[in-house]
């Protein structure tokens, strides 16, 4: 139920993002989803890839500051209110959402959203109780 996400510390200057994507491409790692949170000085690049362990090792070896975190991937109907419904469930049960981002360009018929929450086990339980479709890591990596 949990998906491995790779986070990388990047200075906010030209070429850093490209350095990461180029490195992963060279190593044959495919990026499934990507989000950047940044300030004027630095950014945090978050990635879902097909081979998270390999990506982690490769990036670390090249001297990047990198961490692996667990996130939830939720499939929801691709129509107005889909995301709001899931958010409402989490809010009602007081699950703190740290951040979320949408999954890009998949052939999947539903919309996919990645959630990073404070307590991942609670969140999974809550969403399952409500019959929300949570994707397994393997499903996501293989998309």
């Amino acid at each position: 139920m949990k998906i491995k996400q790779i986070s990388i510390f990047l200075e906010n200057k030209q070429g850093r993002l490209a350095a990461v994507t180029k490195l992963l491409a060279e190593e044959g790692v495919n990026i499934r989803a990507l989000s950047i949170a940044d300030t004027s000085d630095f950014g945090i690049l978050r990635l879902i890839v097909n081979e998270p362990d390999k990506a982690y090792e490769v990036l670390k070896e090249q001297g990047f500051t990198v961490s692996m975190t667990e996130v939830i991937g939720v499939a929801m109907s691709d129509e107005p209110g889909g995301l709001a419904g899931v958010m409402e469930i989490l809010e009602k049960r007081q699950v703190n959402i740290e951040y979320l981002y949408a999954f890009v360009g998949s052939a999947y018929e539903d919309a996919l959203v990645i959630f990073r929450v404070e307590n991942i086990d609670d969140a999974i339980k809550v969403l399952q109780e409500k019959g929300i479709n949570i994707l397994k890591g393997e499903e996501i990596y293989a998309l």
């Binding site: 996400q5 986070s7 510390f9 990047l10 200075e11 850093r16 949170a37 940044d38 300030t39 000085d41 630095f42 945090i44 978050r46 070896e61 001297g63 990047f64 500051t65 990198v66 961490s67 975190t69 740290e98 951040y99 990073r116």
Partner: protein, 433 residues
């Protein structure tokens, strides 16, 4: 362990008597054999006979690096070149190099002091000492080398650089004692991690003797933890003799100065006034036994403090606190005196940072600005922007408290700050005067 039980534990009264006798001889010889000393003493209307007690030392003029440069290369030597058996010199990056010479007896003294230092730092005959100080004009390499041989240890003269090979040697040859700069020790620890070598299980290292650049208590802890050793601070400078002027014993509360060979003083760097024992100021040394290059009241520019209290190790020699900065590297930012080492302690005290940082001083209009770039280590990294911003804020507040000035904190990617295998360059002053 004491290498020279008699002299290292000499009762202080006897020590002072010995110092006075040797001081008088040094002044006498310097006056007659070195034109410079004769001139500066005569300018003050003094002659050797005016020195009749240790307190009289403070009447004598200081010797500075400038004096050595003005008398470049051999003008300060008290013996003929035929008596000199070794010459070392500084790199001269900030002007003319300073040249120092040694007679056979001087080399003998130096080896004795380095043997004492290594023994004090936990080394003995059975040890394999890997000496990663640079061999060459710099006194670190050869100084440690001959001390290690005097001690009877097995010395591996790896010198600096080629870190992966150094680590291989350390592992294969069973190195037990490492000697190098503290920043190089940390650099080695990083490379070990990359190579998958665990000092706890793969190496026999037990202690390290580190010097030639200022470092902090937290940096010691980090080196001790990462290399699984006991780390000792060693102090020295080529003008005085080289490494082996002072060394930390197992107490690690200050470095014992070998007072049978040197007299330390602390002065106010602004006024030159001698300060009472216990106060912080610039270290000044007078050599007592040097033949080739006697040094009278040499201004080291190093900031320290003397500790008079008895030490539990049994050595009677006075201690100096680890050097906390340089009176000439001191940055003046918005009128405030800042030593890079202060910034380092703040970063280390926060505890979450690898000690890799860079200070950039600039001036916008008439206002000095200080930016501190700090590398984000894995331990420090959070995948949330908010947490990293909190970290920046915490560092900024601490710097503000300790230095009394505000700084811009910038988190940077690891390894973006240049690592050096010798001294690390951490200060970039872009101000134009």
């Amino acid at each position: 362990m004491n290498w020279n039980e008699k002299y290292e534990t000499l009762p202080r009264e006897d020590l002072k008597e010995l110092q006075l006798e040797r001081l008088k001889q040094t002044i006498e010889r310097s006056f007659h054999d070195v034109e410079h000393y004769k001139k500066v003493m005569q300018d003050k209307g003094m002659e050797p006979g005016d020195i009749s007690s240790l307190d009289d030392l403070s009447k004598l003029p200081f010797t500075t690096k400038e004096d050595l440069r003005d008398n470049y290369p051999y003008g300060m030597f008290a013996v003929h070149l035929s008596e000199i058996v070794r010459i070392h010199s500084s790199s001269g990056t900030t002007g003319k190099p300073t040249v120092v010479g040694y007679t056979r007896n001087d080399l003998n003294t130096w080896a004795e002091l380095m043997a004492r230092s290594l023994a004090c730092g936990g080394a003995g005959r059975e040890d394999v000492i890997q000496n990663s100080y640079g061999y060459g004009l710099f006194t670190g390499g050869l100084g440690v080398h001959y001390g290690a041989e005097r001690l009877g240890a097995s010395v591996i003269p790896t010198s600096g650089g080629n870190t992966k090979r150094q680590i291989m040697i350390m592992k294969d040859y069973g190195t037990t004692v490492l000697t190098c700069t503290p920043s190089y020790a940390l650099f080695m620890a990083e490379v070990m991690q990359e190579m998958g070598i665990d000092p706890k299980t793969d190496l026999k290292l037990k202690s390290g003797i580190f010097g030639a650049e200022p470092w902090s208590e937290n940096m010691r802890k980090e080196i001790e933890r990462k290399l699984d050793i006991s780390a000792h601070d060693i102090y020295g400078l080529s003008e005085i003799i080289g490494p082996g002027v002072a060394i930390e014993c197992e107490e690690k509360r200050g470095l014992h100065i070998f007072e049978d060979h040197f007299i330390p003083e602390i002065i106010n760097p602004e006024t030159g006034e001698t300060l009472p024992i216990g106060e912080v100021g610039e270290l000044v040394f007078t050599s007592l036994t040097k033949e080739a290059l006697p040094m009278i009241r040499y201004r080291t520019r190093d900031i320290s403090r003397l500790i008079e209290e008895e030490c539990s190790c049994g050595r009677t020699h006075i201690r100096m606190e680890r050097v906390s900065g340089r009176s000439d590297d001191m940055l003046i930012i918005r009128g405030v005196n800042v030593f890079p080492s202060q910034v380092e302690s703040v970063l280390l005290d926060i505890g979450e940072t690898e000690p890799h940082y860079k200070l950039i001083v600039d001036r916008i209009g008439t206002l000095d600005t200080l930016e501190i770039q700090v590398e984000v280590s894995e331990a420090l990294f959070s995948d949330e922007v908010r947490r990293l911003e909190q970290l920046e804020e915490k560092i900024r507040k601490e710097i503000d408290t300790v230095l009394g000035i505000s700084a811009k904190i910038t988190l940077v990617e690891p390894k973006t700050i240049e690592r050096s295998e010798g001294k690390a360059k951490r200060v970039f002053d872009k101000r134009k005067y």
